[in-house]
Symmetry: D2
Subunit: 139 residues, 4 copies
Protein backbone atom coordinates (compact mmCIF):
# COMPACT_ATOMS: atom_id res chain seq x y z
CA UNK A 1 0.00 0.00 0.00
CA UNK A 2 1.42 3.35 -0.90
CA UNK A 3 2.01 6.25 1.46
CA UNK A 4 0.59 9.73 1.16
CA UNK A 5 2.98 12.65 0.88
CA UNK A 6 2.15 13.65 4.46
CA UNK A 7 2.85 10.14 5.73
CA UNK A 8 6.16 10.03 3.89
CA UNK A 9 7.18 13.38 5.32
CA UNK A 10 6.37 12.22 8.84
CA UNK A 11 8.38 9.04 8.26
CA UNK A 12 11.39 10.97 7.04
CA UNK A 13 11.38 13.54 9.81
CA UNK A 14 11.18 10.77 12.37
CA UNK A 15 13.94 8.74 10.75
CA UNK A 16 16.29 11.67 10.14
CA UNK A 17 15.89 14.21 12.96
CA UNK A 18 18.07 16.77 11.15
CA UNK A 19 15.55 16.73 8.30
CA UNK A 20 12.88 17.61 10.81
CA UNK A 21 14.96 20.31 12.44
CA UNK A 22 15.61 21.90 9.06
CA UNK A 23 11.98 21.62 7.99
CA UNK A 24 12.66 19.44 4.93
CA UNK A 25 9.45 18.98 2.94
CA UNK A 26 8.50 16.02 0.75
CA UNK A 27 6.88 17.44 -2.39
CA UNK A 28 6.22 14.17 -4.18
CA UNK A 29 7.50 10.67 -4.95
CA UNK A 30 6.75 7.73 -7.22
CA UNK A 31 8.47 4.78 -8.85
CA UNK A 32 11.96 5.41 -7.55
CA UNK A 33 11.86 9.17 -7.87
CA UNK A 34 11.33 11.86 -5.25
CA UNK A 35 11.27 15.65 -5.00
CA UNK A 36 12.09 17.37 -1.73
CA UNK A 37 12.47 20.98 -0.63
CA UNK A 38 14.77 22.55 1.93
CA UNK A 39 13.24 25.86 3.03
CA UNK A 40 15.29 29.02 3.29
CA UNK A 41 16.82 29.20 6.76
CA UNK A 42 19.30 31.77 8.00
CA UNK A 43 21.09 29.20 10.14
CA UNK A 44 21.93 27.06 7.11
CA UNK A 45 23.67 29.87 5.22
CA UNK A 46 27.38 30.53 4.97
CA UNK A 47 28.77 34.04 5.08
CA UNK A 48 28.12 35.45 1.63
CA UNK A 49 24.64 34.01 1.69
CA UNK A 50 25.00 30.62 0.04
CA UNK A 51 23.37 27.52 1.49
CA UNK A 52 26.05 25.52 3.31
CA UNK A 53 27.45 22.30 1.87
CA UNK A 54 26.42 20.03 4.76
CA UNK A 55 22.84 21.22 4.40
CA UNK A 56 22.87 20.28 0.71
CA UNK A 57 24.39 16.89 1.51
CA UNK A 58 21.80 16.24 4.18
CA UNK A 59 18.99 17.19 1.84
CA UNK A 60 20.33 14.91 -0.90
CA UNK A 61 20.73 12.01 1.50
CA UNK A 62 17.12 12.28 2.63
CA UNK A 63 15.87 12.71 -0.93
CA UNK A 64 17.47 9.45 -2.01
CA UNK A 65 15.96 7.69 0.97
CA UNK A 66 12.50 8.87 -0.06
CA UNK A 67 13.15 7.68 -3.62
CA UNK A 68 14.05 4.25 -2.24
CA UNK A 69 11.05 4.23 0.09
CA UNK A 70 8.84 5.01 -2.90
CA UNK A 71 9.72 1.57 -4.26
CA UNK A 72 8.96 -0.32 -1.10
CA UNK A 73 5.84 1.26 0.33
CA UNK A 74 7.77 3.04 3.05
CA UNK A 75 9.74 0.08 4.39
CA UNK A 76 13.45 0.37 3.85
CA UNK A 77 16.22 -0.34 6.29
CA UNK A 78 19.14 0.26 4.00
CA UNK A 79 21.83 2.75 4.99
CA UNK A 80 23.96 5.18 3.02
CA UNK A 81 27.15 3.36 2.02
CA UNK A 82 28.66 6.32 0.23
CA UNK A 83 27.69 9.74 -1.04
CA UNK A 84 29.61 11.97 -3.43
CA UNK A 85 28.60 15.57 -4.03
CA UNK A 86 29.95 17.95 -6.64
CA UNK A 87 29.22 21.63 -6.15
CA UNK A 88 28.46 23.28 -9.46
CA UNK A 89 27.63 26.86 -8.54
CA UNK A 90 26.89 28.73 -5.32
CA UNK A 91 23.29 28.08 -4.27
CA UNK A 92 21.25 31.24 -3.96
CA UNK A 93 20.02 32.29 -0.48
CA UNK A 94 16.70 30.63 -1.20
CA UNK A 95 14.96 27.30 -0.79
CA UNK A 96 16.66 24.32 -2.47
CA UNK A 97 14.85 21.66 -4.50
CA UNK A 98 16.24 18.11 -4.67
CA UNK A 99 15.22 15.65 -7.37
CA UNK A 100 16.36 12.11 -6.61
CA UNK A 101 16.08 9.01 -8.74
CA UNK A 102 17.08 5.43 -8.17
CA UNK A 103 19.29 4.16 -11.00
CA UNK A 104 19.57 0.64 -9.63
CA UNK A 105 17.60 -1.08 -6.89
CA UNK A 106 19.32 -4.25 -5.77
CA UNK A 107 18.80 -6.59 -2.88
CA UNK A 108 22.02 -5.66 -1.12
CA UNK A 109 23.17 -2.50 -2.94
CA UNK A 110 21.18 0.31 -4.51
CA UNK A 111 22.42 3.39 -6.36
CA UNK A 112 21.00 6.68 -7.48
CA UNK A 113 21.58 10.34 -8.19
CA UNK A 114 20.20 13.63 -6.91
CA UNK A 115 20.13 16.97 -8.69
CA UNK A 116 19.97 20.05 -6.47
CA UNK A 117 18.72 23.45 -7.65
CA UNK A 118 17.93 26.76 -6.01
CA UNK A 119 14.16 27.11 -6.19
CA UNK A 120 13.13 28.73 -9.46
CA UNK A 121 16.45 28.15 -11.23
CA UNK A 122 17.06 25.79 -14.12
CA UNK A 123 20.79 25.29 -13.61
CA UNK A 124 21.74 22.85 -10.84
CA UNK A 125 23.84 24.02 -7.90
CA UNK A 126 25.06 20.51 -7.02
CA UNK A 127 24.91 16.89 -8.18
CA UNK A 128 25.06 13.85 -5.95
CA UNK A 129 25.56 10.13 -6.49
CA UNK A 130 25.02 7.72 -3.64
CA UNK A 131 25.02 4.00 -2.86
CA UNK A 132 22.91 2.37 -0.20
CA UNK A 133 23.54 -0.99 1.44
CA UNK A 134 20.99 -3.30 3.00
CA UNK A 135 21.31 -3.04 6.75
CA UNK A 136 22.67 -6.19 8.29
CA UNK A 137 24.87 -7.04 11.15
CA UNK A 138 28.52 -7.52 10.44
CA UNK A 139 28.75 -6.29 6.85
CA UNK B 1 51.98 34.41 11.34
CA UNK B 2 50.31 31.32 12.66
CA UNK B 3 47.00 31.19 14.46
CA UNK B 4 46.36 29.79 17.91
CA UNK B 5 43.92 26.93 18.28
CA UNK B 6 41.38 29.31 19.83
CA UNK B 7 41.75 31.76 16.96
CA UNK B 8 41.29 28.98 14.41
CA UNK B 9 38.20 27.73 16.18
CA UNK B 10 36.69 31.21 16.19
CA UNK B 11 37.49 31.58 12.49
CA UNK B 12 35.82 28.29 11.65
CA UNK B 13 32.69 28.87 13.67
CA UNK B 14 32.27 32.26 12.05
CA UNK B 15 32.86 30.91 8.55
CA UNK B 16 30.67 27.83 8.93
CA UNK B 17 27.74 28.66 11.20
CA UNK B 18 26.64 25.00 11.36
CA UNK B 19 30.02 24.17 12.90
CA UNK B 20 29.29 26.72 15.58
CA UNK B 21 25.77 25.46 16.15
CA UNK B 22 27.07 21.91 16.55
CA UNK B 23 29.91 22.98 18.84
CA UNK B 24 32.70 21.67 16.58
CA UNK B 25 36.04 22.00 18.36
CA UNK B 26 39.45 22.47 16.78
CA UNK B 27 41.89 20.26 18.68
CA UNK B 28 45.03 21.02 16.70
CA UNK B 29 46.49 21.76 13.27
CA UNK B 30 49.86 22.07 11.55
CA UNK B 31 51.44 21.71 8.14
CA UNK B 32 48.35 20.67 6.22
CA UNK B 33 46.88 18.46 8.93
CA UNK B 34 44.09 19.14 11.40
CA UNK B 35 42.19 17.32 14.14
CA UNK B 36 38.64 18.34 15.03
CA UNK B 37 35.99 17.01 17.40
CA UNK B 38 32.23 16.92 17.08
CA UNK B 39 30.75 16.63 20.58
CA UNK B 40 27.99 14.19 21.38
CA UNK B 41 24.64 15.83 20.70
CA UNK B 42 21.24 14.20 20.86
CA UNK B 43 19.96 16.24 17.93
CA UNK B 44 22.64 14.85 15.60
CA UNK B 45 21.72 11.21 16.23
CA UNK B 46 19.60 8.95 14.08
CA UNK B 47 17.14 6.52 15.59
CA UNK B 48 19.26 3.63 16.80
CA UNK B 49 21.76 6.05 18.23
CA UNK B 50 24.31 6.53 15.46
CA UNK B 51 25.60 9.96 14.51
CA UNK B 52 23.80 11.07 11.34
CA UNK B 53 25.55 11.13 7.99
CA UNK B 54 25.11 14.85 7.32
CA UNK B 55 26.75 15.63 10.66
CA UNK B 56 29.77 13.51 9.69
CA UNK B 57 29.95 15.18 6.28
CA UNK B 58 29.77 18.62 7.84
CA UNK B 59 32.50 17.76 10.32
CA UNK B 60 34.76 16.41 7.56
CA UNK B 61 34.18 19.48 5.41
CA UNK B 62 35.23 21.81 8.20
CA UNK B 63 38.21 19.63 9.14
CA UNK B 64 39.60 19.88 5.62
CA UNK B 65 39.13 23.63 5.65
CA UNK B 66 41.19 23.87 8.85
CA UNK B 67 43.88 21.67 7.29
CA UNK B 68 44.02 24.07 4.33
CA UNK B 69 44.02 27.12 6.59
CA UNK B 70 46.95 25.61 8.48
CA UNK B 71 49.03 26.06 5.33
CA UNK B 72 48.09 29.68 4.76
CA UNK B 73 48.04 31.28 8.18
CA UNK B 74 44.26 31.35 8.27
CA UNK B 75 43.63 32.98 4.90
CA UNK B 76 41.88 30.72 2.47
CA UNK B 77 39.01 31.55 0.19
CA UNK B 78 38.73 28.25 -1.61
CA UNK B 79 35.44 26.38 -1.66
CA UNK B 80 34.55 22.70 -1.60
CA UNK B 81 34.37 21.48 -5.20
CA UNK B 82 33.44 17.95 -4.30
CA UNK B 83 33.27 15.67 -1.28
CA UNK B 84 32.89 11.89 -1.23
CA UNK B 85 32.20 10.02 1.98
CA UNK B 86 32.19 6.27 2.52
CA UNK B 87 30.53 4.99 5.67
CA UNK B 88 32.50 2.11 7.13
CA UNK B 89 30.66 1.26 10.33
CA UNK B 90 27.93 2.87 12.39
CA UNK B 91 29.43 5.63 14.54
CA UNK B 92 28.86 5.09 18.24
CA UNK B 93 26.60 7.57 20.10
CA UNK B 94 29.66 9.51 21.19
CA UNK B 95 31.85 12.37 20.09
CA UNK B 96 33.49 11.97 16.68
CA UNK B 97 37.13 12.81 15.92
CA UNK B 98 38.14 13.94 12.42
CA UNK B 99 41.72 13.82 11.19
CA UNK B 100 42.21 15.71 7.94
CA UNK B 101 45.29 15.98 5.79
CA UNK B 102 46.01 17.84 2.59
CA UNK B 103 47.39 15.50 -0.07
CA UNK B 104 47.90 18.20 -2.65
CA UNK B 105 47.84 21.98 -2.29
CA UNK B 106 47.60 23.67 -5.66
CA UNK B 107 46.95 27.19 -6.75
CA UNK B 108 43.53 26.46 -8.20
CA UNK B 109 42.73 22.95 -6.90
CA UNK B 110 43.59 21.26 -3.64
CA UNK B 111 42.79 17.75 -2.47
CA UNK B 112 42.83 15.85 0.78
CA UNK B 113 41.33 13.12 2.91
CA UNK B 114 39.65 12.91 6.29
CA UNK B 115 39.40 9.90 8.58
CA UNK B 116 36.50 9.89 11.03
CA UNK B 117 36.42 7.84 14.22
CA UNK B 118 34.17 7.59 17.24
CA UNK B 119 36.16 9.01 20.13
CA UNK B 120 38.26 6.31 21.76
CA UNK B 121 38.00 3.84 18.88
CA UNK B 122 40.79 2.77 16.57
CA UNK B 123 38.65 1.66 13.64
CA UNK B 124 37.32 4.49 11.44
CA UNK B 125 33.57 4.97 11.00
CA UNK B 126 33.92 6.90 7.74
CA UNK B 127 36.48 8.09 5.20
CA UNK B 128 36.24 11.22 3.11
CA UNK B 129 38.07 12.60 0.10
CA UNK B 130 37.49 16.14 -1.03
CA UNK B 131 38.65 18.67 -3.61
CA UNK B 132 38.68 22.41 -3.09
CA UNK B 133 38.76 25.08 -5.77
CA UNK B 134 40.11 28.59 -5.50
CA UNK B 135 37.16 30.96 -5.26
CA UNK B 136 36.80 33.11 -8.32
CA UNK B 137 34.00 34.60 -10.23
CA UNK B 138 32.75 32.64 -13.19
CA UNK B 139 34.56 29.35 -12.78
CA UNK C 1 32.56 25.13 -37.35
CA UNK C 2 31.37 21.74 -36.27
CA UNK C 3 33.18 18.46 -36.82
CA UNK C 4 31.86 15.43 -38.63
CA UNK C 5 31.59 12.15 -36.76
CA UNK C 6 34.58 10.81 -38.68
CA UNK C 7 36.66 13.86 -37.82
CA UNK C 8 35.75 13.58 -34.15
CA UNK C 9 36.67 9.91 -34.12
CA UNK C 10 40.04 10.65 -35.66
CA UNK C 11 40.63 13.41 -33.11
CA UNK C 12 39.81 11.11 -30.22
CA UNK C 13 41.91 8.20 -31.39
CA UNK C 14 44.87 10.51 -31.86
CA UNK C 15 44.42 12.17 -28.48
CA UNK C 16 43.81 8.95 -26.55
CA UNK C 17 45.87 6.14 -28.10
CA UNK C 18 44.17 3.49 -25.93
CA UNK C 19 40.86 4.48 -27.52
CA UNK C 20 42.41 3.80 -30.89
CA UNK C 21 43.92 0.50 -29.78
CA UNK C 22 40.55 -0.64 -28.46
CA UNK C 23 38.70 0.54 -31.56
CA UNK C 24 36.41 2.98 -29.73
CA UNK C 25 33.82 4.39 -32.15
CA UNK C 26 32.13 7.77 -31.98
CA UNK C 27 28.46 7.23 -32.89
CA UNK C 28 27.26 10.81 -32.49
CA UNK C 29 27.55 14.04 -30.53
CA UNK C 30 25.82 17.39 -30.16
CA UNK C 31 25.30 20.16 -27.62
CA UNK C 32 27.25 18.63 -24.76
CA UNK C 33 26.15 15.05 -25.34
CA UNK C 34 27.96 12.15 -26.99
CA UNK C 35 27.41 8.48 -27.71
CA UNK C 36 30.37 6.13 -28.12
CA UNK C 37 30.79 2.39 -28.61
CA UNK C 38 33.44 0.02 -27.37
CA UNK C 39 33.44 -3.05 -29.65
CA UNK C 40 33.55 -6.56 -28.27
CA UNK C 41 37.18 -7.57 -27.81
CA UNK C 42 38.46 -10.75 -26.20
CA UNK C 43 41.44 -8.97 -24.70
CA UNK C 44 39.18 -6.61 -22.73
CA UNK C 45 37.25 -9.38 -20.99
CA UNK C 46 37.78 -10.74 -17.52
CA UNK C 47 37.52 -14.43 -16.77
CA UNK C 48 33.80 -15.13 -16.65
CA UNK C 49 33.29 -13.05 -19.74
CA UNK C 50 32.51 -9.58 -18.42
CA UNK C 51 34.12 -6.48 -19.89
CA UNK C 52 36.90 -5.37 -17.53
CA UNK C 53 36.53 -2.32 -15.31
CA UNK C 54 39.47 -0.37 -16.72
CA UNK C 55 38.03 -0.74 -20.22
CA UNK C 56 34.72 0.74 -19.01
CA UNK C 57 36.54 3.58 -17.26
CA UNK C 58 38.58 4.33 -20.36
CA UNK C 59 35.46 4.34 -22.53
CA UNK C 60 33.66 6.70 -20.14
CA UNK C 61 36.63 9.04 -19.97
CA UNK C 62 36.76 9.36 -23.75
CA UNK C 63 32.99 9.73 -24.01
CA UNK C 64 33.02 12.73 -21.69
CA UNK C 65 35.83 14.28 -23.68
CA UNK C 66 33.77 14.02 -26.87
CA UNK C 67 30.80 15.57 -25.06
CA UNK C 68 33.03 18.49 -24.06
CA UNK C 69 34.50 18.76 -27.55
CA UNK C 70 30.96 18.93 -28.95
CA UNK C 71 30.59 22.28 -27.19
CA UNK C 72 33.78 23.78 -28.50
CA UNK C 73 34.06 22.66 -32.11
CA UNK C 74 36.75 20.12 -31.30
CA UNK C 75 39.11 22.37 -29.35
CA UNK C 76 39.42 21.44 -25.72
CA UNK C 77 42.57 21.21 -23.66
CA UNK C 78 40.99 20.35 -20.35
CA UNK C 79 42.07 17.25 -18.47
CA UNK C 80 40.23 14.77 -16.27
CA UNK C 81 40.43 16.05 -12.70
CA UNK C 82 38.51 13.15 -11.24
CA UNK C 83 36.38 10.23 -12.34
CA UNK C 84 34.12 8.06 -10.19
CA UNK C 85 32.58 4.87 -11.54
CA UNK C 86 29.95 2.69 -9.91
CA UNK C 87 29.48 -0.80 -11.29
CA UNK C 88 25.81 -1.72 -11.35
CA UNK C 89 25.75 -5.16 -12.97
CA UNK C 90 28.26 -7.31 -14.84
CA UNK C 91 28.51 -6.11 -18.44
CA UNK C 92 27.66 -8.80 -20.95
CA UNK C 93 30.45 -10.09 -23.24
CA UNK C 94 29.31 -7.70 -25.95
CA UNK C 95 29.95 -4.18 -27.18
CA UNK C 96 29.36 -1.41 -24.64
CA UNK C 97 27.54 1.86 -25.39
CA UNK C 98 28.44 5.03 -23.48
CA UNK C 99 26.14 8.03 -23.31
CA UNK C 100 27.84 11.10 -21.90
CA UNK C 101 26.39 14.48 -21.08
CA UNK C 102 27.89 17.65 -19.73
CA UNK C 103 26.00 18.87 -16.67
CA UNK C 104 28.09 22.00 -16.22
CA UNK C 105 30.55 23.64 -18.59
CA UNK C 106 32.68 26.18 -16.77
CA UNK C 107 35.75 28.12 -17.68
CA UNK C 108 38.01 26.28 -15.28
CA UNK C 109 35.95 23.29 -14.18
CA UNK C 110 33.40 21.20 -16.07
CA UNK C 111 31.33 18.26 -14.86
CA UNK C 112 29.25 15.54 -16.42
CA UNK C 113 27.97 11.99 -16.23
CA UNK C 114 28.19 8.89 -18.40
CA UNK C 115 25.79 5.96 -18.50
CA UNK C 116 27.25 2.67 -19.73
CA UNK C 117 25.14 -0.18 -21.13
CA UNK C 118 25.82 -3.46 -22.83
CA UNK C 119 24.66 -3.02 -26.42
CA UNK C 120 20.98 -3.85 -26.73
CA UNK C 121 20.23 -3.70 -23.01
CA UNK C 122 18.12 -1.09 -21.26
CA UNK C 123 19.61 -1.46 -17.79
CA UNK C 124 22.96 0.28 -17.27
CA UNK C 125 26.03 -1.73 -16.28
CA UNK C 126 27.87 1.27 -14.84
CA UNK C 127 27.47 4.96 -14.10
CA UNK C 128 30.25 7.55 -14.10
CA UNK C 129 30.60 11.12 -12.90
CA UNK C 130 33.67 13.13 -13.83
CA UNK C 131 35.16 16.60 -13.46
CA UNK C 132 37.50 18.21 -15.94
CA UNK C 133 39.87 21.07 -15.27
CA UNK C 134 41.18 23.57 -17.76
CA UNK C 135 44.79 22.68 -18.53
CA UNK C 136 47.21 25.23 -17.20
CA UNK C 137 50.65 25.18 -15.80
CA UNK C 138 50.94 24.96 -12.08
CA UNK C 139 47.35 24.29 -11.07
CA UNK D 1 49.10 -20.44 3.49
CA UNK D 2 50.56 -17.32 2.00
CA UNK D 3 51.48 -16.80 -1.61
CA UNK D 4 54.86 -15.86 -2.97
CA UNK D 5 55.19 -12.65 -4.95
CA UNK D 6 55.57 -14.67 -8.14
CA UNK D 7 52.42 -16.67 -7.38
CA UNK D 8 50.47 -13.51 -6.68
CA UNK D 9 51.64 -11.93 -9.92
CA UNK D 10 50.58 -15.00 -11.88
CA UNK D 11 47.19 -14.95 -10.16
CA UNK D 12 46.64 -11.29 -10.99
CA UNK D 13 47.69 -11.53 -14.61
CA UNK D 14 45.36 -14.48 -15.08
CA UNK D 15 42.44 -12.76 -13.35
CA UNK D 16 42.90 -9.39 -15.06
CA UNK D 17 44.18 -9.95 -18.59
CA UNK D 18 44.79 -6.21 -19.12
CA UNK D 19 47.25 -6.32 -16.21
CA UNK D 20 49.08 -9.06 -18.03
CA UNK D 21 49.02 -7.23 -21.35
CA UNK D 22 50.44 -4.11 -19.69
CA UNK D 23 53.09 -6.07 -17.78
CA UNK D 24 51.90 -5.03 -14.31
CA UNK D 25 54.34 -6.29 -11.69
CA UNK D 26 53.57 -7.19 -8.08
CA UNK D 27 56.43 -5.84 -5.95
CA UNK D 28 55.15 -6.91 -2.55
CA UNK D 29 52.11 -7.40 -0.32
CA UNK D 30 51.25 -8.11 3.30
CA UNK D 31 48.45 -7.55 5.81
CA UNK D 32 46.10 -5.62 3.56
CA UNK D 33 48.76 -3.62 1.76
CA UNK D 34 50.28 -4.09 -1.69
CA UNK D 35 52.78 -2.37 -3.95
CA UNK D 36 52.55 -2.76 -7.73
CA UNK D 37 54.42 -1.31 -10.69
CA UNK D 38 53.21 -0.40 -14.16
CA UNK D 39 56.23 -0.36 -16.48
CA UNK D 40 56.82 2.43 -18.95
CA UNK D 41 55.02 1.62 -22.18
CA UNK D 42 54.67 3.86 -25.21
CA UNK D 43 51.17 2.60 -25.93
CA UNK D 44 49.90 3.76 -22.54
CA UNK D 45 51.02 7.37 -23.02
CA UNK D 46 48.91 10.31 -24.09
CA UNK D 47 50.24 12.94 -26.46
CA UNK D 48 52.49 15.11 -24.34
CA UNK D 49 53.97 12.04 -22.73
CA UNK D 50 51.85 11.48 -19.63
CA UNK D 51 50.57 8.05 -18.67
CA UNK D 52 46.89 7.82 -19.65
CA UNK D 53 44.13 7.95 -17.08
CA UNK D 54 42.63 4.54 -17.89
CA UNK D 55 46.05 2.93 -17.37
CA UNK D 56 46.30 4.52 -13.92
CA UNK D 57 42.76 3.40 -13.06
CA UNK D 58 43.50 -0.13 -14.19
CA UNK D 59 46.70 -0.24 -12.15
CA UNK D 60 44.91 1.03 -9.04
CA UNK D 61 42.10 -1.48 -9.46
CA UNK D 62 44.54 -4.38 -9.60
CA UNK D 63 46.60 -3.02 -6.70
CA UNK D 64 43.56 -2.99 -4.43
CA UNK D 65 42.71 -6.54 -5.47
CA UNK D 66 46.20 -7.68 -4.44
CA UNK D 67 45.82 -5.87 -1.11
CA UNK D 68 42.56 -7.75 -0.54
CA UNK D 69 44.10 -11.05 -1.65
CA UNK D 70 46.91 -10.48 0.85
CA UNK D 71 44.34 -10.86 3.62
CA UNK D 72 42.84 -14.08 2.35
CA UNK D 73 45.74 -16.14 1.10
CA UNK D 74 44.88 -15.46 -2.52
CA UNK D 75 41.20 -16.39 -2.46
CA UNK D 76 38.91 -13.47 -3.09
CA UNK D 77 35.88 -13.35 -5.30
CA UNK D 78 34.79 -9.82 -4.55
CA UNK D 79 34.31 -7.33 -7.37
CA UNK D 80 34.90 -3.60 -7.67
CA UNK D 81 31.68 -1.83 -6.65
CA UNK D 82 33.03 1.63 -7.24
CA UNK D 83 36.30 3.41 -7.89
CA UNK D 84 37.03 7.12 -7.67
CA UNK D 85 40.28 8.59 -8.94
CA UNK D 86 41.55 12.13 -8.50
CA UNK D 87 44.39 13.22 -10.75
CA UNK D 88 46.84 15.38 -8.83
CA UNK D 89 49.60 16.10 -11.35
CA UNK D 90 50.57 14.76 -14.76
CA UNK D 91 52.42 11.46 -14.35
CA UNK D 92 55.89 11.51 -15.85
CA UNK D 93 56.60 9.31 -18.90
CA UNK D 94 58.00 6.64 -16.60
CA UNK D 95 56.90 3.60 -14.65
CA UNK D 96 54.15 4.19 -12.09
CA UNK D 97 54.15 2.76 -8.56
CA UNK D 98 50.83 2.00 -6.81
CA UNK D 99 50.57 1.57 -3.05
CA UNK D 100 47.23 0.14 -1.98
CA UNK D 101 45.90 -0.41 1.50
CA UNK D 102 42.66 -1.87 2.79
CA UNK D 103 40.95 0.53 5.20
CA UNK D 104 38.08 -1.80 5.98
CA UNK D 105 37.66 -5.49 5.24
CA UNK D 106 34.05 -6.57 5.70
CA UNK D 107 32.13 -9.66 4.82
CA UNK D 108 30.07 -8.04 2.11
CA UNK D 109 31.80 -4.68 1.53
CA UNK D 110 35.48 -3.73 1.70
CA UNK D 111 37.09 -0.35 1.16
CA UNK D 112 40.57 0.99 0.58
CA UNK D 113 42.77 3.60 -1.02
CA UNK D 114 45.61 3.63 -3.52
CA UNK D 115 48.33 6.24 -3.91
CA UNK D 116 49.95 6.44 -7.35
CA UNK D 117 53.37 7.97 -7.99
CA UNK D 118 55.73 8.20 -10.93
CA UNK D 119 58.67 5.97 -10.06
CA UNK D 120 61.26 7.90 -8.09
CA UNK D 121 58.98 10.79 -7.17
CA UNK D 122 57.68 11.61 -3.70
CA UNK D 123 54.60 13.57 -4.77
CA UNK D 124 51.63 11.45 -5.85
CA UNK D 125 50.21 11.80 -9.36
CA UNK D 126 46.81 10.37 -8.42
CA UNK D 127 44.79 9.10 -5.46
CA UNK D 128 42.09 6.43 -5.60
CA UNK D 129 39.41 5.20 -3.24
CA UNK D 130 37.49 2.05 -4.04
CA UNK D 131 34.81 -0.23 -2.60
CA UNK D 132 34.56 -3.93 -3.29
CA UNK D 133 31.49 -6.11 -2.89
CA UNK D 134 31.37 -9.81 -2.22
CA UNK D 135 30.38 -11.55 -5.43
CA UNK D 136 26.96 -13.09 -5.23
CA UNK D 137 24.15 -13.66 -7.56
CA UNK D 138 21.39 -11.12 -7.62
CA UNK D 139 22.91 -8.35 -5.55
Amino acid sequence: MSLTVAEMQALVREGVPLAGAWGVEVLGFADGEATLRLPHREDLLRPGGTVSGPALMGLADVAMWVALLSLTGGKDESLTANLAITFLRPPAPRAVIAEARVIRKGRTLSYGEVMLRSEGEAAPCAHVTTSWAAARRGV
